[in-house]
Amino acid sequence: MPARRKFIIMLSFLIRRIALALTTGFVVLTLVFVVVRILPGDPAQVILGDMASEESLTALRQRLGLDRSLPAQYLDFVGGALSGDWGESMVTGRPVVTEIMTVLPWTIELTVVSLLLGTAVGVPLGVWAAVNRNRAVDYAVRVVSLLGLSFPAFVSAVILLLAFAIQLRWFPVISARSGSVGAWFQSITLPALSLGLIMAAYITRVTRSAMLEVLSEDYVRTARAKGVPWPAVVRRHALRNALLPIITVVGLFLGIQIGNSVLTEIVFNRPGLGKLIVGALNQRDYTMLQGMMVIYTLIVVFVNMLTDIAYGLADPRVKLQ
């Protein structure tokens, strides 16, 4: 296929997906508005603290516009959102967009690095287990991967800190440092390891079962009949075909992970979306919650899009629809 045509197909795919994402985004916007207001609790109370009297609370609610009718608030919110104005955090007074954008890179960085790590560990392990099906290696890998699945992230996080930051002193306890590449490496390694190992556990299992499937395919036999040595058969012929289910799980995980890495963020003291949303929730920061949940949805939609593109790259038979 000529490159130009490929490009056009990709472009039209992207445009359609983005249009879909926007529709979804609008639905989410409405949903979020309603949901946030259903939540029990009162932002004014949180902002003013426990010494505030009922009078000052009423005054603050008025100032925040919380006393107006819901339709009026909704119109305001949607209008603002559409024109790119997400408002200011009710608690800190800083613009929601600024708050999200300051921590977003941290979250993306952690997710991407741990994903790479998880893949780098999980795929070879899964392949190894599949090739040695029902031998000791296979059982060992399966048990280890279950270990990764059943241990909460924060337990492994603290163990990593004790081992590498306290005993060995290779890494700092507080990982939020920036600057040189060395410092970056120091700050990302342990958190990425902690999250990455859990991802590795999932990826190992998926890789194993996908490989078992693929290894019984006819083209694997063809490759062997060609005289391709077994390791190359596994790597070049089988693994590439096992990629689709791996991509599915990685995509699913990516979506879940971006929202759920709050414990890792807390233990390694990294800024991140997880901490931001938990904070917003604890303070009933309506504007912040609204902005965050729309961002989450966009991330999930975006990740799905990436997954689809990855499908297309991994398997020439998949057409971008």
Binding site: I9, D218, N241
Partner: protein, 603 residues
Amino acid sequence: MGEPVLSVRDLTTSFRGPQGWTPVVKGLSFDLKPRETLAIVGESGSGKSVTALSLLKLVPEANGRVEGSALLGGRDLVSLPEAEMCRIRGNEIAMIFQEPMTSLNPVLTVGDQISEALILHRGMDRAAARAEALRILDRVRIPAARERLDEYPHRFSGGMRQRVMIAMALACRPKVLIADEPTTALDVTVQAQILDLIHSLQDEFAMGVVFITHDMGVVAEIADRVLVMLRGDKVEEGETTQIFDRPAHAYTRRLLAAVPTLGSMRGEAAPKKMPDFVEGDESASPAAAPGHAPAYHDEPLLEVEGLTTRFEMRSGLLRRVSGRVHAVENVSFSLARGETLSLVGESGCGKSTTGRSILRLVEPLAGSVRFEGREAIGMGGAQLKALRRDMQMIFQDPYASLNPRIPVGRAIAEPIVVHGLAGRREAEERAAGLLEKVGLEPGMAARLPHEFSGGQRQRVCIARALALSPKLIVADEAVSALDVSIKAQVLNLMLDLQSSLGLSYLFISHDMATVERVSHRIAVMYLGEIVEIGPRAAIIENPQHPYTRKLLSAVPVPDPARRGARPPLPAEDLPSPVRAPDFVPPERIWRTVSQGHLVQESS
């Protein structure tokens, strides 16, 4: 011809099962000389494919064991360690497989897959390997090889894929080529092309070829010598002419007798049963006289008029229709009670879609399907459900058309219960009866499909189709995947059922010899249209349309004496039925050749 290039002695391959080691190939010995083609013939379970895998040491090590010796260029392949075997496979001994659709790696370009062996065995760099791959693609006569080198297998047709497989196997000019049923999955015209190709390359490379097949027609076409296997044993080996003219072993004789031969029905008025393939009974038993004859004078059971089914292809930003697959285009025919009409043609000609459109498994775009005078198009809900009692379908792949998790007895009883014809208990009793009717034991009802052989499964499928006492059965390549002997049995069963129950069949097949045997009338389809339709004898003996002629001439004849009689066919794919969205099908003009024999005038 000189020294044998491959010399096999006492080859024994066993597999470990629950009951210990079971030999699947038992002490097989043979020699293969350069430029010689040895056909290994046998049915499923005869051990012929395992023999091929054993020679390449591709038998799974965990539960497979190979003994004996196989000398290739002075080395014994059986005792060679894996690392050295890797240097021999694809290099000195190569193999091509039955399923071109699944035997190529879908995520690598064909160029890469061919180059791989060259890089491995010839030590070429990527550029050199690529150049060589291109040369070989040209050699296997793939049109526009230069462009296609960088394409992925899914963009190739089955025939073209098999050419790629051959290119891959022959890239390093092996001394021995093992071809395991390489043409079984292909259309007849493509099969003829591939056989030609293998033959010419064999001469050029001075290869010995071991050709594994169950198709005696193919054997007659290409083999120098024939080795017949039965349940792991060699039962007979000899020159091809000798095997065909003077088969020594009873099994060989039965095998030959079971092969439908095109033209063998000359002078027969009605479909005729095949000789029964019963061990010990070598006299081919003639067909029973048909009970029901087609009721041509009554109102036709099925009348199809102007049936058109198209699939839209969308692309671009707004998902606009960018083209349509004209799968079925203005197809008209009628089918009498008790009659068999065959739809023949090659993959993609629309014959299956026609069948599925009639059963409303796909929604036709236009046309009418009248069943017993009632219009089936547009029927919904209860009406459609009732209609489906009368029209049933049997599919090509008996492995895929049964739910693997449901015991066959329940599978047969289920439609009876669903249509409220009987309660569960009675339905199960009826199922047992149906099993008996298709030649299986009622006690097998509790078994799962995977416990049956292919032929038995197809019988189960027929029993299930019969459960609702239908009037019409659409048999979509119903016997194409079966072994010769099984095929004969299933065909006979179908004919018996027709004569006893007065069934009508719409028999969809690409196998002209079988079609000749079972049909009253034949319709030839090409690119979604019927190009010729008429009584069986008229079509076979007096084909008018060029495509019908091509189709007939490509059928291999199980007679080595007539080898090489047919002209070589050019390497090309069938034209595509995909048309632009604004395409308007041209008006067709029909010419009547004789009574009921119509042919489309080629434009």
